[in-house]
């Protein structure tokens, strides 16, 4: 029996590949799949003092979706992330286009410069904006010492706009890479062909470059939209009470409030909402790109 397994292993490429993959998959199952399943189970349970009542109920979902404050937070989180995604992708596209089509020898340097922020401390990049926008912050103290204003501007920090600005900055690098990769992959002879056939630069961009780069745009949008809806650090530091997002109330359930099932239901509901919005967005973009061609 043992010998047969050994022989099968030697012979079968798929089996060897799967064996090599098994430790990674085991970790992913233990640290990703199992926790997710448990999160889903928790969302159907009830907190009972310090213990959890495992009688299945939809009560947590009723609270998550029924309470107006939570509903408002879902809408606001999705709205903020959608605006952030739009701004980030729009700003990143010309930048990625520049590196893909206009830079020749120094592509590597540009790409490193653009990706450094992606790898460095998210917490500190967000915190930098608190310093900049604060009541006694960089902008206010700068303008006052220049004599341009006499009172600090209070509308800068602690509102949804501050959250949008900070997130658009913090996630900028995420948009560049997918768009750059899809632009770089475009066969340059297609552009020449379009030019030879009489398309001007604008028409050529709209009919060849843009449609071919849409997979990168969609990828960038999803990669930004999905995680930012659940961002905790940014709304906590620069959002104030008007900029609270869904992650803040989820955190509360697991910390101060101690109602894990409700926190789990809020997390599941927000992932479902984000999933639906993402699915509709991708479908709409696909349809639009089919029409563009």
């Amino acid at each position: 029996m043992g010998e047969r397994i050994v022989r099968f292993y030697r012979r079968s490429e798929a089996a060897r590949g799967l064996l090599l993959l098994s430790p990674t998959m085991a970790i992913m199952l233990a640290a990703l799949a199992a926790p997710m399943v448990l999160l889903a189970l928790y969302s159907f349970w009830t907190q009972d003092g310090y213990t959890v009542n495992t009688q299945a109920t939809l009560a947590q979902y009723a609270t998550s979706l029924g309470r107006p404050t939570y509903r408002a937070l879902f809408y606001r989180s999705i709205e903020i992330s959608a605006v952030v995604t739009l701004i980030t992708v729009l700003l990143a596209y010309p930048m990625a286009y520049f590196v893909a089509f206009r830079v020749e020898k120094t592509k590597f340097v540009w790409l490193i410069l653009l990706t450094i922020p992606f790898w460095t401390s998210y917490l500190l990049r967000v915190f930098a904006w608190k310093l900049i926008l604060g009541y006694n912050g960089v902008i206010n103290s700068g303008l006052m010492s220049l004599g341009l204003i006499h009172q600090p501007l209070e509308f800068l920090l602690y509102n949804p706009t501050a959250v949008v600005l900070t997130l658009a900055h913090a996630w900028a690098a995420f948009a560049i890479l997918p768009i750059y990769v899809s632009l770089e992959k475009i066969d340059r002879s297609l552009l020449d062909a379009a030019a030879d056939l009489g398309d001007g630069p604008v028409r050529r961009f709209l009919r060849v470059t843009l449609p071919l780069s849409l997979p990168g745009v969609i990828g960038a949008a999803v990669l930004i939209f999905v995680p930012t809806t659940g961002d905790y650090v940014t709304p906590s530091l620069v959002g104030g009470s008007g900029g609270v997002m869904i992650a803040n109330v989820i955190e509360e359930q697991f910390d101060k409030v101690g109602n894990w099932p409700l926190g789990a239901a809020l997390a599941m509901a927000s992932m479902a909402a984000v999933g639906v919005v993402t699915f509709l967005f991708v479908a709409a973009m696909r349809a639009a790109s089919a029409r563009l061609r």
Binding site: A31, W119, S121, I132, S270
Partner: protein, 267 residues
């Protein structure tokens, strides 16, 4: 044509400024004498750096973060190496789905990853510690390790490994003498990048660390105290510079490799 290039270049420069200028205020004010983070600057000092290095809690958190980062980097790079080798060298059924599964953590908000692991640990009865932080960090680092290492494996010829096997070397010797040296730039790059991701990660560690603090958790705790901010800025400035230097090294190694070593093996 020339004009269009100029316009885009100008845009690119503004874009880089947008990325870097806000962050540059951290080091700028870390050298400012006043305890208030505000203009006008009131003179040069390094006292905040000295104050920071005198802080025992900070040093302990730094030690924790270095430990967690080093172990996470090693584990996730080994896991990434196995997965990358399997996905690029063998025809594995459902490879696309498996690769998609491993990159899933990139598409799930950190807060959800954090609370779901917290629930599991609680259900199984595992106490929170730096070990549980490492588990959480491996989850988000493995996708990066796989991506970096797969691009490295795709970049060199499978036939080199086959030649070694044909010439009679066993599987392990082939791995150590051919695969490993060729993949080494990818491995170094993966170690550095996963280390940085772990070292800088806040939210998952916040849920899983229990009573211990990593450096980002320590920083988070300091942000409430205005008088501590200058020292936090000094620490933040050092972290940003160190992270940036490691990224540059990692990316450099990844794309340029160790040329001499290649030649040695190619010969």
């Amino acid at each position: 044509m020339k004009n269009r290039r100029g316009g885009l270049l100008l845009y690119a420069i503004f874009y880089l400024a947008f990325l870097y200028v806000p962050v540059a205020f951290l080091p700028l004010f870390s050298f400012n004498k006043s305890v208030f983070i505000a203009f006008p600057l009131s003179g040069f000092t390094t006292q905040w750096y000295a104050q920071m290095f005198d802080d025992a809690d900070m040093l302990r958190a730094l030690g924790n973060s270095l430990e967690v980062g080093a172990i996470t980097a090693t584990l996730s790079t080994v896991l990434g190496l196995l997965a990358a080798k399997a996905l690029t060298r063998y025809r594995v059924p459902g490879a696309t789905a498996l690769l998609g599964f491993t990159s899933l953590p990139l598409f799930i908000p950190d807060i959800v990853l954090g609370i779901s692991i917290l629930i599991l640990l609680n259900a199984v009865g595992v106490p929170l510690s730096l070990v549980t932080v490492i588990a959480g960090h491996c989850l988000i680092c493995v996708p990066f390790a796989i991506t970096v290492l797969m691009s490295r494996f795709d970049g060199f010829d499978k036939s080199l490994e086959e030649a070694s096997l044909d010439l009679g070397e066993g599987g392990w010797m082939t791995f150590w003498r051919v695969t490993f040296p060729l993949a080494l730039p990818g491995i170094v790059s993966s170690l550095l990048l996963t280390f940085i991701v772990s070292f800088d990660e806040f939210l998952i560690a916040y849920f899983l660390a229990g009573n211990e603090a990593t450096l980002p958790i320590y920083i988070w705790g300091q942000l409430r105290f205005p008088e501590k901010l200058p020292a936090v800025l000094a620490l933040g400035a050092l972290i940003l510079v160190a992270s940036a230097v490691l990224v540059v090294i990692a990316e450099w190694v990844r794309s340029h490799g160790f040329k001499d070593r290649h030649r040695m093996i190619g010969a």
